[in-house]
Amino acid sequence: MSVARYWREIPRRYRLEAGKCSNCGYIAFPHRLVCPECGSRKFEDYRLKDTGKIVSFTTIEVGPTEFSDQVPYNVGIIELGDEVRITAQIADADPKDIKIGGKVKLEFRKIQQDGHAGVIKYGYKAVLV
């Protein structure tokens, strides 16, 4: 992944910056230029809540190359407090403790790295609360 491609997503990945449709209130994460609900092109800055609940989840036992050292790891679809859904790893958790509806909060974690010499890529992961 090029550095620029990583860098331009920093506001979303580090700070959960989103856009809120000025017309209908739809929250776009990541930001969008057009509201998928009402077609409005006006958005206000919005920051997602960092707590939520698990909608569904899985434990990845066979991972892509970048994540092969981390298996088994848990991934879930998380519905944050503002009803926005994201895909995130569920870190530090025994799969037996993960339940649909379980409460989580987001933490800042290392997500990937480009080998031993490349850039380290950070972002959000969920942890059980």
Binding site: S56, T59, E61, V62, I100
Partner: protein, 386 residues
């Protein structure tokens, strides 16, 4: 718009084809379709291919395939909609003929997946998901469908055994398909004890990595009636819909809206209803996908798909036979070729040419080809022209 018919189909033995190249496999299937149709020329060509670039380094696929097929200077285009690329090629071929742009069109699909290692194939397939907001965080395709499965189990009480029975049925059908990659009988226990890939999905819930190609010849119905040696099969209706490619952006994980929408459109265009369908090929990239699709195209009520499989309602001879070919599960899943091969299986069924896996008295068939985790879905409804 002109009526469009399929007059020839061509497949090849799918699998890990170490000795055959990307272009070899396409040309082999394409020549088989030309021979089957008995045509002497083709006017244009559409090829479904998800990621020649990532799998083999080759793009500009329309031209290289036309060249190696010996079709100098014909218009040839590669189309892409992830794992629904093949279905999309069929639709484009249909439009080409229906519009009068071409009379005889070759529609193909191809994927050469084994020139990269497992990690490379996983990464290439993952490009069908949202790279920045799904894949970045470590999700895989088995993982996405696993989350669909878990949500379906949670909401409807679908059981792990139901998922296993999809694989058992499809492998049982695939035993009779000489072109299938995995012609082997498996039991429910085999599935339940196979290696976990992304819980609750195990390796025998997943379609394999496959090299393969498929091709067919389309022409307008009038010409078809004149020149076709075999029974022409009409494309009665097409539905094609998109959806968010990030699974998390859907309100309900247990239904794939693109399939629901595509099915509605295809039924409307063809004037048939779910109960009129005699045989179907649906996109069982994972066992749960067949269950969800069988509900979303209207064969079963929401939540009944799992029981329907275990009750035998989708086996050959059942209420609505699904994936008599063996499905992606047994036949293999060379992603770009899959959508074309699904249509080919229905053509063989409607022609009455499917031998041991023949669905009796099949008159009308349906195919459902999915891209990604439901970001696109393409449905074709086909009818034999007596």
């Amino acid at each position: 718009m002109r009526e469009v018919a399929i007059i020839g189909v061509g497949l090849m033995k799918w699998g890990e084809l170490w000795k055959k190249s990307f272009r070899d496999i396409f040309v082999e299937a394409a020549l088989n379709s030309i021979d089957d149709a008995g045509v002497e020329r083709i006017d244009s060509m559409y090829i479904g291919c998800m990621s020649g670039g990532l799998f083999t380094g080759q793009e500009h696929i329309g031209s290289i395939m036309a060249d190696y097929l010996g079709q100098k200077h014909i218009p040839a285009a590669r189309v892409e909609s992830a794992c629904a690329s093949g279905g999309l090629a069929v639709k484009m071929g249909f439009l080409e003929v229906a519009s009068g742009m071409s009379d005889i069109v070759l529609v193909g699909g191809v994927e050469k997946m084994t020139d990269v290692d497992g990690g490379g194939a996983t990464a290439a397939l993952a490009t069908a998901a949202d790279q920045e907001y799904e894949v970045y965080n470590g999700i895989t395709f088995p993982g996405l469908y696993a989350m669909i499965a878990r949500a379906h189990m949670d909401k409807y009480g679908t059981k792990r055994e139901h998922l296993a029975d999809v694989a058992v049925k499809n492998h049982s059908n695939g035993l009779h398909n000489p072109n299938a990659q995995f012609q082997m009988k498996i039991s429910r226990e085999d599935v339940l004890n196979s290696v976990m890939v992304a819980s609750p999905l195990r390796i025998l819930d997943c379609s394999p990595i496959t090299d393969g190609a498929a091709a067919m010849i389309l022409c307008d119905l009038e010409t078809a009636k004149r020149i076709s040696k075999k029974m022409p099969v009409r494309i009665l209706g097409i539905g094609h819909a998109s959806d968010t490619i990030a699974l998390h952006n859907r309100k309900d994980l247990t239904t794939l809206n693109s399939t629901v929408k595509a099915a509605q459109d295809a039924y409307k265009m063809s004037g048939v209803k779910p109960s009129d369908i005699d045989v179907a090929e649906v996109h069982d990239c994972f066992t749960i996908a067949e269950i969800v699709a069988s509900e979303d195209v209207g064969f079963f009520e929401k939540g009944e798909g799992g029981c329907a499989v275990s009750d035998g309602r989708t086996q050959i001879g059942g209420q609505i036979p699904i994936n008599p070919s063996g499905g992606l599960k047994s036949k293999g899943h060379p992603v770009g070729a899959t959508g074309v091969a699904q249509v080919i299986e229905i053509v063989e069924q409607l022609r009455g040419n499917a031998k041991e896996r023949q669905v009796e008295n099949a008159k009308t068939g349906l195919t459902q080809n999915m891209g990604g985790s439901g970001g696109s879905s393409i449905i074709h409804i086909l009818k034999g022209e007596e």
